[in-house]
Symmetry: C2
């Protein structure tokens, strides 16, 4: 009889990241006899596939980024901790995180690493100042400010060349995000904003979608790719394939075509959606475990999604490299749920004194891919079936309404979509001074602080 | 017969400001034979009385700040220009505005100045860094970040004293905005966030409402003021009257009580809603016209709301001083409509060759005042009638839903309110790194730039 012993400490699960992988793993563990700590540097769960709708004024940031703490507040076994993970120690089984100078060390028995990916500029990080990416709410709000700001400046300027530069929008990268951004900027210019300016016609705006690859939406296959390219061109988007960006500055970008010729596109507002790099935590996990890492910084995991030699450390979502799975929400969700299932089964077995069950390898079930091009028009690939146009768009809408995780705001979101798609109104065209200038002000601040130190050292030497 | 003459140039109306005064004046002129230019430094019409709901996560910024350009896009005689008005020249009849280094001079025949008011720190502008005001969308988003950020930091810290400081929220100023802010922070702490943190109970948060005056909501009269104070205290808000703030820093504030004793309140998150100062344009108008100006910088106007000696220059809303009218939306709306009516009547008379009609003096029709304290609870004064509790709250809701100007989003707004008031969910708790750090980063940048210039001058001298 063990009635009078003190209860054993509960199995501790640490989840790094509150994106699709982390959140769905945490929810899948809600009935498990474990204590979960979710650590993330943001306080929200970001529904990343809809970021472009925040950037183009369709949805508000709250609708696609519900508070992780609010989502999990009724889940008694889960705690949320705001912090930037600096170290994972596989030997000590601890995760160290920082928040405003406060360091916290959290011990784990099982670890689920799902820290996702960030924008990659392929070694040209200085492009970021002039062509923000689309990975965070800050990015989307800043792009909203830049896009609408370009139209506002075009209204004020009296120089036709400057106006043309302001009315040229360039989206780099023709994956789903790039296609959706280019389509929505075209809808803004050709539909929403018509009649709103006095000194120019927004329909004169030029929207360019560039990609170094030779197809739009490569993972969707040739048919859907050319269908999407055609729809974009009908919308007024200039699609340029086989075009690599070699430089970006405040006033435009330089492009090298497939035949090697370089030319410049004058454009104030640029959007970068060309590449991703896995969270730098991937590299640190690889160094400690000897796991392989691919060019995008993703960690090669075993068939149960764990780090080689560390069966208690799962890597899921965009950080994980296995079977050439793409960096999409479904891979993260299924990976997170798989990891949760293994942990729950093993904790239950241990509690009942049963042998630990052997893990069946992770199998990804492809539910298809979708991308919207404009209202009422999408492309979708489901189980080998290719769907385009209005039907694909309705499927896209249904799937996204069901998945938008701020459950209680689903109907309000649907309603605000209905207004936006049926009319020409957009409810979220607000942008503020801080949203537009913040990123550059913060970056410049770091730069100036270093310059002051240098200059003061000069003064000290000189005197 | 004048059929073959070229048409005379249309009467030009310039409207400075897109708040209640400016927007309602512009809309009232929609059928007038005039050309209107609305100049504002923001691109939105701000529904200022609901800013506190953006700051506390109930509404998104887009719901209370629809794009001015979109509101007016079907009004053929109105143009919108983004710009900061730097000069009004009453002799030349021109308005000069700047936008990103581009200067524009706009001529007018009639001018409506409705540039509103900004937060006043009564000469202590350095308080602003530590206690943001509530006048712009930027302010509200920053306060949202600071309020939620304080709870997040309280979860991370291990120092009980620091946690108490983080969980103390001080609202300075017990007018409608201060009362509403204090009430909503209390609702966040005592209702919305309950269960969301692991290391403390948000119900332990301390919410202090301070005012140097001896009553809450002074313009509402003694009865409603004490009713509001009582409701706030039941909600858990500490109401301190006769208490002046003498200093504010990052960690707290110093307060002098009515008996002259000073004491300190340790608090990380402070909100300033204590005073307003009219737009500095008021002073410049007064200098040119010899008009009087009051302590808050408001311009004393004639009985037709025009500047003495300038019957074609109307000053309306929070910038205007006349009959001790309060700085509320209704005064601005009625003033804007009055100005529009005079202009339209005179333009019509001139076109028909009739004598210009004499102006009847502006008469304000008091439609009452309202302030919400928490959900289902408000105080209202309508035509001498005092209403409190649920009934007042329903009246408040009805009036605000009707007035929220982003017409097409009214139902969506109502729906999102319904969710928020009936449940414990709030859809707009998102905050981003930039929202929280932008204001200080931008301010610090200006400071560092000046310091670098000084230091480099030192280096030049030393070498």
């Amino acid at each position: 009889m063990s009635n009078h012993q003190s209860p054993p400490a509960r199995h501790r699960v640490v989840v790094i990241g509150s994106g699709f992988g982390g959140l769905f793993a945490t929810k899948a563990l809600r009935r498990a006899d474990v204590d979960i700590t979710v650590i993330d540097r943001t306080t929200h769960h970001l529904f990343q596939p809809l970021l472009y709708q925040v950037a183009t004024g369709i949805l508000s940031e709250g609708e696609i980024a519900p508070s992780t703490r609010m989502i999990l507040k009724d889940q008694a076994n889960a705690a949320v901790r705001l912090g930037d993970v600096t170290t994972i120690d596989l030997t000590e089984r601890t995760v160290t995180s920082e928040h405003l100078g406060q360091t916290t060390v959290t011990g784990y028995d099982s670890l689920i690493v799902s820290a996702g990916a960030q924008q990659s500029y392929f070694g040209n990080d200085h492009f970021a100042e002039h062509a923000p990416g689309m990975k965070t709410i800050d990015d989307a709000l800043e792009l909203r400010g830049r896009i609408l700001g370009a139209f506002e400046q075009a209204e004020v300027t009296t120089d036709p060349q400057e106006r043309a530069r302001l009315l040229t929008f360039v989206v780099v990268g023709a994956g789903p995000t790039g296609v959706e951004m280019a389509g929505q900027i075209a809808e803004l210019a050709h539909r929403t904003l018509v009649g709103a300016y006095s000194n120019f016609d927004p329909r004169d705006a030029r929207i360019v979608l560039l990609d170094a690859a030779s197809a739009v939406l490569p993972p969707f296959g040739d048919n859907l790719g050319s269908e999407a390219a055609e729809t974009l061109e009908k919308l007024g988007v200039e699609v340029r394939l086989g075009a690599s960006v070699t430089d970006v500055d405040a006033g435009g970008l330089t492009v090298r075509d497939a035949d090697g010729t370089e030319h410049r596109i004058e454009s104030v507002c640029k959007v970068w959606s060309a590449g991703v790099a896995a969270s730098p935590l991937g590299r640190r996990l690889a160094e400690q475990s000897g796991a392989d890492i691919d060019r995008a910084g993703r960690v090669a995991v075993d068939e149960d999604l764990t780090l080689p030699g560390n069966p208690n450390v799962f890597v899921v979502g965009d950080m994980m490299s296995r079977d050439r799975l793409p960096g999409v929400a479904q891979v993260a969700i299924q990976g997170g749920r798989y990891a949760a299932k293994q942990i729950a089964a093993e904790v239950t077995a241990a509690a009942k004194g049963r042998p630990v069950p052997e893990r069946t390898p992770f199998r990804y079930r492809d539910k298809g891919s979708m991308a919207t091009i404009c209202r009422f028009n999408a492309v979708a690939e489901i189980g080998g079936l290719e769907v385009t146009g209005f039907l694909a768009w309705i499927m896209w809408l249904a799937v996204h309404v069901v998945y938008v995780v701020g459950f209680r705001s689903r109907l309000a979101t649907l309603l605000s979509w209905a207004w936006t798609f049926l009319g020409t109104w957009r409810g979220q065209l607000t942008n503020t001074h801080q949203q537009i200038t913040a990123r550059n002000a913060i970056a410049q601040l770091h730069y100036l602080e270093r310059r002051i130190e240098d200059t003061e050292a000069d003064v000290a030497r000189a005197s």
